[in-house]
Symmetry: C2
Subunit: 574 residues, 2 copies
């Protein structure tokens, strides 16, 4: 017997019927007070008088489709995929399009394989973009380069569903064969983009490659131009980049644009999700900003489903997988608080509790590099070969850095940190292949007065980065990070004052989201104890290695300023 068709007709009891739900229909933009019948994990029917083997009375409360995050880096939360799914499922998220380029820098193909494996059977479906820019530039050293053949391989293996954000927009615009080869190797799939500020003919060239979405619009004008060129606009509302309020007026001006726009999170922290939420928070913001609730809902359900060609989801209609939630209120714009959540027709959450258990150990990544080649105290010393040095200037609240040229402070012919002018020493050590390659530089603006802070989260190659006031503290941090197998460290002299292990590729923890948020807070407090005055010091530190953002950055290969030719910059400025 065809159970699905029979349940749809009402000839047999459905597996589950949600009665009296005020179904938010994303196709019509209207509510429909109705029963929803589920069979074999699929929605069988909407209508009156369905009966189920399990019956649930929604008492007229609003029902919404499972929400979809169109672009997220799970690694940024430091949570493993199962834990990320646990926290977001409770918020009504059913699908996440994840770009695993952090773990792919840290562990190569085996990192992607881990993410894929660890994401099976979760209360949230995770689909992966093939990480298109590993390394982010030739001036970074990941575990291994993932070239066009690697991209093709990811799709052949079934790990990836779309092409992850193509950040190397200069190469795309230039028509570079290797980068276009990666795009073409992905085949006829959604090709997601990342082209901040790209406009006019350069934008034409970028789009002519087939890349057809972008999540980097930070002005209305930019979003309008990209929309007009056929791009799907992913409006980002991340922890550090809240663009939603800026871009929403475009959608409010013409509701039809909602069919080509979606809302994405990009980078979040565990704390952010716990305190503010996931896609539910984006919905609350949009409603507060005066967006029609159904237009808002379309942009976190049907529109991302359409863009990502997920024909089995996006709305509550027959034949789609039974992913939906009930809200506390009778309509969407009544607080938008998600109460009960169903995934594939099974209830997975209630009032924030997720009915879901998992074991971590079996899913640990196979690749574990132990760093043994750590520079000696002598090697870290910088001989004063000039009077002025280039220094990374941190700008609080921005991912942009400046290139400062400062007078070197010296002692016995050695350049030393100048804490009185808030200048620390910064060291990056290659950690993936234990080559021992390291670079030394200086950074101003972190507030470090003594000791050192270190991390194995260091975009995008994620080598060890340590900033400190003295070499001994720096060496203690490097050794500490090596001992942890990756993580965060706060040291003073030869004492490890605080540490937090990130055993999954040096990026993620096996702990619960709540514990991770607490650990991170504890580490930040420890850093404050060294005088660190900047907010989110570990995040700021992690971005000092990202070579594709101007101006001065540092990697294991040395100082890099991507705006200069050649980009590798010497330590001494004279």
């Amino acid at each position: 017997m065809n159970r699905l068709a029979a349940a749809a007709r009402g000839d047999i009891p459905a597996d589950l019927v949600i009665h009296n739900a005020n179904v938010a229909n994303v196709y019509t933009g209207q509510y429909e007070l109705s029963d929803v019948a589920v069979c074999s994990g699929v929605i069988a029917g909407i209508g009156k008088d369905y009966t189920g083997r399990v019956n649930f009375d929604a008492e007229g409360r609003a029902m919404i489709p499972g929400m979809i995050d169109g672009h997220a880096h799970i690694e940024s939360t430091m949570m493993s995929p199962p834990e990320f799914a646990r926290l977001t499922a409770a918020r009504g998220t059913s699908t996440v399009m994840a770009d695993p380029h952090e773990i792919s820098n840290a562990l190569g193909m085996s990192g992607l394989q881990y993410m894929f494996t660890a994401s099976q059977g979760l209360p949230v479906d995770v689909f992966f973009g093939a990480p298109s820019c590993v390394p982010a530039s030739p001036f970074e050293t990941p575990y291994e380069e993932l070239d066009m053949n690697a991209i093709a391989s990811m799709f052949r293996k079934g790990y990836t569903q779309h092409l992850g954000e193509m950040m190397n927009f200069p190469a795309v615009i230039a028509g570079d064969a290797e980068v276009w080869g990666k795009i073409l190797a992905a085949g006829n799939v959604p090709l997601t983009g990342h082209a901040p500020g790209v406009s006019g003919k350069a934008l034409n060239a970028y789009i002519s490659s087939g890349v057809n979405s972008d999540h980097e619009c930070t002005t209305l004008e930019e979003a309008r131009e990209k929309l007009s060129r056929g791009m799907y606009i992913m409006i980002r509302e991340g922890a550090s980049f809240p663009d939603l309020k800026t871009i929403l007026p475009m959608v409010k001006a013409n509701p039809l644009y909602a069919a080509r726009c979606m809302v994405v999170s990009d980078d979040l922290t565990a704390r952010y999700i716990l305190e503010r939420g996931h896609m539910d928070e984006k919905m609350r913001i949009m409603i507060r900003e005066g967006v029609d609730p159904f237009i808002a809902l379309r942009m976190v359900t049907l529109s991302p489903a359409e863009y990502f060609r997920l024909y089995d989801r996006g709305g509550i209609v027959p034949g789609k997988i039974a992913d939906f939630s009930l809200l506390e209120g009778r309509v969407i714009d009544e607080g938008f608080k998600v109460k009960e959540v169903w995934k594939n027709g099974l209830q997975v959450a209630n009032d924030g509790d997720v009915f879901y258990r998992y074991e971590h150990e079996e899913l640990a990544p196979v690749t574990k590099v132990r760093v043994k080649n750590i520079p000696t105290s002598e090697q870290l010393k910088v001989k004063a070969e000039g009077r002025r040095i280039n220094v990374i200037g941190v700008t609080e609240g921005s991912v942009i850095t400046k290139t400062l040229q400062l007078e070197a402070k010296t002692q016995n012919g050695i350049v030393i940190p100048d804490t009185e002018r808030d200048t620390a020493k910064i060291v990056v050590l290659e950690r993936h292949n234990d080559t021992g390659r390291f670079a030394v530089g200086f950074v101003q603006g972190l507030g470090i007065k003594r000791g050192a802070v270190g991390s194995s989260v260091a975009h995008d190659a994620h080598n060890f980065v340590v900033a400190g006031a003295d070499d001994e503290s720096i060496l203690t941090a490097l050794k500490g990070l090596a001992g942890l197998g990756g993580g965060l460290a706060v040291t003073e002299g030869n004492n490890m004052r605080a540490s937090f292990a990130l055993p999954i590729g040096g990026l993620m923890s096996y702990l619960k989201g709540e514990e991770i948020a607490a650990e991170l807070a504890r580490m930040e407090t420890a850093a404050e104890g060294l005088g660190v005055s900047i907010a989110h010091p570990f995040m700021v530190l992690s971005f000092l290695c990202l070579s594709v953002i101007p101006e001065l950055r540092i990697t294991d290969q040395g100082y890099v300023d991507i705006t200069k030719n050649p980009p590798l910059i010497p330590l001494f400025a004279d």
Copy 2:
């Protein structure tokens, strides 16, 4: 060198630049006075100051994307695919989604193969739906049955891009394994539907199969319900079924619905296209009906491209194939007259002239059945085995027929046509496998006073159908059709008064569209000479065999009324 990227950047001359075009942007719903640069058949860029090796000044006239017909039966025009493309390309059509179920009934898999082969290299891209209902019911006899294995095979061979209209909605709703097998054999492709009047739980069951569009909505209420269940609505404006004005209010009420609606032609004649147009006519109707011109344009460009997953077309933006037209006016709603047409960046038409030549002979279908088993005069005689007979009652202007029960007119114990009561004899002869199987019945309402009219166009199995006032004329028609290898015939006694050969499967001609329109008019005039009073008599005749529409029809298996159980109906009513 990457020529496309270089042309997009403006660093090399493009192959073609259309200057000063008032580009209708279907993403924004706005005009953009701009240059459009083309390279390698693909749009490289939109913007100012592009230069091309070929340059064309649009002088500020409106430019629109190539238009897409989301559902058409090319066979209905009696034109071959190249000729269909010639007439529609001139109207600004660039893409047609064709359901070849007529030729697939007549010639089986080789008919589909012919359509596919004959559609390569045309100025219109033709994508085929896998004919999902051959035969339309077990009570029709096509050349061969195309079962779920045949469907799978069509996709493997690359002939088909989507599933053709799933007309057997009762079987889908019933959960029939063979029909669901066909749907699943198509795989993850657009699954087009045909479910007239299906509603409520039956509609839920139909949609739960994955079928996700419908072109049979004839009321606003029906369209709204299907849209609300996640179906794409194909609003039909065909020669016999003009539904556009009825359904348009839905789209006018909410522009966002345009993202889930498109306009299709279904069945047109050569004359219709020549006199009224193709998708350009639909545009003029929509504009006249007060639809926002950009909303109208989206429904014949971007929306069908999205539904059919044709990511390479739908708008004038970089990376899409260079399919576009210039109108005579500066804006869409200024008459909407298509002037110059480009396909893949090459101009293919100007002022209705298509720059396109083709040869037919090499493309002829491989399967040619010669009918030799024609009933004798004696075999055609109907012995009066009862007093009352069942008679097909034709309703002018409707595809529906009635079941009439009339007193039999007899002569020497033989039932004969009763022309005084407008009742003709009707014979259907199996023609594909020359089995000699035939059925005899009676039909009221055609107006035949003498002679006979016959056709090899006889939905959906397309056997020979002849209606006449006497057996001799009927036999002359059957023999005539056999001699033609299919076509249309008007006979009187043993004279063939007029004939029109349809050598391509008995459905289509190699003639030009203009000639076909004239031939059909000539045949209709000849039929009028026999007293035939009904409009479009050959079309009416062709639908008398379509067993899936109520009430009484006739096939080579006998009378059929699909609403009865069993559906095969005897000749005598008592």
